[in-house]
Each structure stands twice: as C-alpha cells, then as structure tokens.
C-alpha cells in the first residue's frame, strides 16, 4: 500500500513563551517549531500499515510525507524520514499565503500525480485548530473519508475498517480504498492499527517511534523533492481572510478555600451555582 501523509510544522502553543498579539497581528516568534502532533501520529499509523511489526526494517509499502512551507520546513520532513518514511516532498509556500482550501486543492493535484492508495493525515493542526483539510481533500478527490480515526484495520490492503471517535461513542465504517483518513490521539495505542503484514499477536509500544541515530544519518540520503505551489494549483487565492487577532479575555483570579464546607458555602451563596 502506498500512503501519502501531509505533515505540517506548527509553532508549539504548549510552551513557556505564549502566543502574543501586537497591533492585531499574531506574534508566534517566541514559540518553537514542532511537527503537528496529530501528523506525527499519522506517520506512525502509516508506518504500521506498511511494515511487518516484528521486523520494521523491511518495508512492505511506501510512505510519502509532504509539507507546505519554506525551506526550513524540510527539517520536519527529515525527522519523518528518519522514523521510517520513504520519501518526502516539500511544496514551496509561505504559511501566510495558505488556507485549508488551498492546501486541499494542491494535495488533490499531488495525489493525482503520486497515486497513493490512502491519504492519512492529522484531524487538525494545533496552531489553527481548523479540522478541515482531510474533509476538503476527500471531496475534491471524490473519495470516501473517515475523520477522527482511533483505530484502523487494514483488510488485505484493499479496504479499511475504521473506528471513528465521535461525540458520545465510536462510529465504525468500512472504506474501500482509495480513501482519506484523518487520525485522532488514540491511533497510536498499542493495538490501534492492524494490518495483514504484522502477526495479530504483535503489540506496538504506546505512542510514536523515535529515530535511531543511524536512521537519522540514513534519512539524509532519502529522496526529498521540491514542488512549486503554482505547479499544483493555478488559482492559489485563499477563501478565508484573517483580518486581526486578539488575546482571549482572561479569567479573573479566583480564591483558594480552606475546607470542603467553605467550598460548598461559597458555591451556594456567592456563586449561586448549586
């Protein structure tokens, strides 16, 4: 199976340096870049689908990672190559010139060229929290989609049984490939991904794999190509225009109560919350 994984680098909001807003503009300069966690989970899931878990060196499929961004974004792609992805594509673009719709239309054009069986991506990028690229792409491709996947079972690499995490429970779908699947947090649990290439008895460690030093060296030799955004979309205009940013209203600091009885008294008489 050939899998395309779109991978975004995001500035880490979970950081001692918080996002700042100056004159209505967002200032993320104090934040560090890191791969979008959901995309790291997508890479891990893609690797699990294209290997025998008992011998992860031999590949039984192909994982292509792709990002939209400037030259520096290649660091994120290299890291994915070091954990096992087979090749990388960087679509040259500036973050400010993109929205989910342009990304999805460009990915559609890339899929037409690369012809993967599956596009596996994060359910949302944790900078914009948009949660839309997978769905837009699926429609542009005319492919079925399974968003918020918590487990994937590959059926002879032709179909997938996906359990989706939805409000109030789990929704199970069977998709015939090719398809688009967006992943949720729990896709990297030990038994969340099963494929015919790995014995059913095999259990993965929880979470994503780390790259060994040798693999980091070897990743430098793996193919990395650059594509111009204009080669994929003739109309690169975004549909969404951001006009300004603000900090959220901060909650006023509360008080510490000394006893449970005091807590109940305050909830009843002060907050009138009971």
């Amino acid at each position: 199976m050939k899998i395309l994984v779109p991978l975004k680098r995001v500035s880490d909001p979970d950081n001692a340096n918080k996002v700042k807003v100056t004159g209505g503009k967002l200032d993320a300069s104090g934040l560090e870049w890191k791969p979008n966690p959901f995309d790291e989970y997508a890479v891990e899931a893609a690797l699990r689908l294209t290997e025998n878990g008992t011998n992860t060196k031999a590949r039984v499929g192909e994982v292509v990672v792709v990002t939209f961004g400037p030259k520096e974004a290649e660091t994120t792609l290299r890291a994915a190559l070091a954990t096992g992805a087979d090749k990388a594509i960087r679509i040259d673009a500036l973050d400010d010139a993109l929205d989910g719709d342009v990304v999805a239309r460009a990915l559609k054009a890339l899929v037409d060229k690369e012809k993967p069986d599956l596009v596996l991506l994060g359910k949302q990028a944790v900078d914009g929290d948009s949660n839309q690229v997978g769905q837009l792409l699926a429609e542009y491709l005319g492919w079925p989609q399974a968003t918020f996947a918590a487990s994937i079972k590959s059926n002879a690499d032709k179909a997938l049984i996906v359990s989706r995490e939805v409000d109030g429970g789990a929704l199970n779908l069977k998709l015939t490939l090719p398809a688009v699947v967006s992943v949720d947090l729990r896709i990297v649990a030990p038994k969340s991904v099963t494929s015919i290439h790995t014995p059913a008895t095999h259990t993965y460690p929880d979470g994503v794999r780390f790259a060994a030093l040798m693999a980091i060296m070897a990743a430098k030799k793996k193919p990395m190509t650059e594509v111009k955004l204009a080669d994929l979309v003739t109309d690169a205009a975004t549909k969404i225009k951001y006009t300004g940013f603000e900090l959220p209203p901060s909650r006023k600091a509360g008080i510490k109560v000394k006893t449970v009885a005091e807590l109940v008294e305050k909830l009843k008489n002060e907050a009138k919350a009971l």
Partner: protein, 319 residues
C-alpha cells in the same frame, strides 16, 4: 440579502439539541433562515424545530440516509444550499465537522470552522474563532458567495422556541456521490448512560489521571448527586480510566457549563481550551501550584480521595 440554511443534526429520530446553537447563530446574524432536517426519520423529527421561527423546514427523509455517513448527506445539502442560500451553518459537533467542509468543497464555498461569535459589519460577516488551543482569537471573513460555517456549541447558547409553526417542504435526495458506495456504515457504539450529554450538561464533574482505577467509583456518586455529566482529561482517557468520548479539551469536547469541577487535573493548556468558558470553575488538586488554580474560581488544595467523599456529604447537608 443574507439567507441562512441551518443543517439540523438527527439522532434516534429526533433533532439533537446541538442544532439549537446553529439557530442562535442565525438569530444573531438577524437574517431569515430555513432549517434542513435531513436523515432517516427526518419527517418525524421536523416537528422538534417547527417553533423556532424558520422561514421553512426543508425535510429530506430517506432510508439511504441511515447513519451519519457524510458522503450520503453532502450531495443533498449542497443542492439545497445552491437554491438561494448564502450562509450554510452547522454546529461543530463531530457530525458537523465531518460534513460541512465536504459540502463547502462541493459547491466551491469557503468554510470557517468552529466559530465563537459572528458580527455583521455592513454587508460583511466577520467571524471570530479560537486558535492555538484558545490562546488567541482570530477574526476572519470569507471571500466566496456562499459561506459555510460551523459554530461552537459552548459559545452559542442554545436557542429557545419562539412559537408558531414553520411551513415544511419535502426535498428529494440529490444524485448520489459515487464515493458513498465505497463507505459502509457498520454501526455506532454509544455508551449507555443516564447522565446528560457533555455538550448540554449544566454541571460537569471532570477527573484526571490522579483518579486512577477509582475514576468511576469516586466521581459517579458526585455526578449523580448533582445531575452532572462526567468529563475527563486526556491522560485519564489514555490510561483507560475513562472512556475516550468523555475527553474535554482542545481535541476533545469543548464545554461551558454553569459549574465545572476539575478533580485531580493539572490544567494543561489543551485541557483549559475545552473548559475555560465555564461560568464557575472549581479545582481540587493536592498540588497548590497546579496551573488549574489559575483559572479556578474556587480552588481547594486537598487529596481528592478525602475531599470528594466529604464534598458529597456537605452537598447533601446543604441541599
């Protein structure tokens, strides 16, 4: 002239309450709106939203629409949207987030996800949405003729009926999307619970990793007493102490109840993103420096295994 189309969400033959938040959006824009009640059982469900002042209830009821499989819904929603609507709105539930972008792509519309408010500025709509796990808010506009929007249930207080009865009109199923033939709906597993849904609860009792295997044993009696929904941190869900659908946060449910208890939860930004909008926040944590205390109205530094049973006793006394 703005004309809004609301997509109702159905479950078990009823319109889900989450839909009322999309109605609130329409009312805050102040433009006429119609409601598309679509799904198996839509004919029966339409009555649930007849008294909210919609210009029309558009009803599409067909056995083909069994289960929330968005490939089956999107073509009809798109066809209806093109008949004179310029804003299409859903509530940003897992169903809304799944189907809305698909509809937008189908009709070449722009899509703004998960907005917290809307402002009418002349003939423009300015949408406000949280980004960076709620650490900033962005204002944005859409350049397209038709605009697709999903709204945050916790920020748009559910609309109440305004009386009257909207006229209904049947809508035929649009031509099928071939992609739908490649998705088979196997089933929906929902945990049976007498507790209210997290999105609708007035009181939520949430627990973190600290509860360990005693998660339900400690929290259920408190939730039962308060008629509350139970929530959880990601760490509690990941460890298997609580089922995943209880997760509150940036990547779980976003909630804003009248009263939120964070019990044995440290207060990571991803958790705060899902509950900061609550009216009153109570934190119980044995670490006086836990970040949760920075957003809590009432903080109690205590061992939860002692404090929660005591809380139950005191609450019984007080009510």
């Amino acid at each position: 002239m703005t004309n809004i189309l609301i997509i109702a969400e159905l479950a078990e033959g009823k319109v889900k309450k989450s839909t009322h938040s999309a109605i609130t959006f329409a009312r805050s824009v102040g433009a006429p709106f119609s409601i598309l009640v679509i799904g198996q059982g839509a004919k029966g469900a339409a009555a649930d939203v007849a008294a909210f002042g919609a210009a029309k209830l558009l009803v599409c009821d067909d056995a083909y629409l069994v289960g929330p499989v968005c490939e089956r819904f999107a073509p009809t929603v798109a066809e209806v949207a093109k008949k004179g609507f310029d804003v299409v709105v859903v509530t940003a539930s897992s169903f809304g987030k799944d189907v809305a972008p698909r509809v937008a792509a189908r009709i070449g519309a722009g899509y703004v996800p998960d907005i917290s408010s809307v402002k009418v500025d002349g003939d423009k709509l300015v949408f406000r949405r949280p980004v960076f796990a709620g650490n900033a808010y962005a204002n944005c506009e859409l350049t397209t003729a038709i605009k697709v929007v999903s709204v945050r249930q916790s920020e748009f207080t559910p609309a109440e009926p305004s009386g009257g009865a909207s006229p209904t009109e049947d809508v035929a199923l649009a031509a099928k999307d071939p992609a739908a033939d490649r998705v088979e709906f196997i089933g929906l597993e929902t945990a049976k619970s007498e507790r209210p849904d997290l999105g609708e609860a007035k009181v939520i009792v949430s627990g973190g990793r600290a509860l360990k295997e005693k998660f339900a044993e400690v929290l259920d009696p408190l939730a039962a007493l308060l008629g509350a929904a139970v929530g959880a941190s990601r760490a509690a869900c990941d460890a298997g102490y609580a089922p995943p659908e209880l997760q509150v946060g940036q990547t779980g449910r976003v909630v804003a109840p009248r009263l939120y208890f964070a019990i044995g939860i440290s207060g990571a930004i991803q958790h705060l993103a899902g509950m900061k909008g609550s009216k009153t926040i109570v934190a119980i944590n044995k670490d006086a420096d836990a970040p949760i205390f920075q957003v809590a109205d009432y903080g109690l530094v205590a061992d939860l295994f002692v404090a929660v049973p005591e809380l139950i006793t005191e609450l019984k006394k007080a009510t």
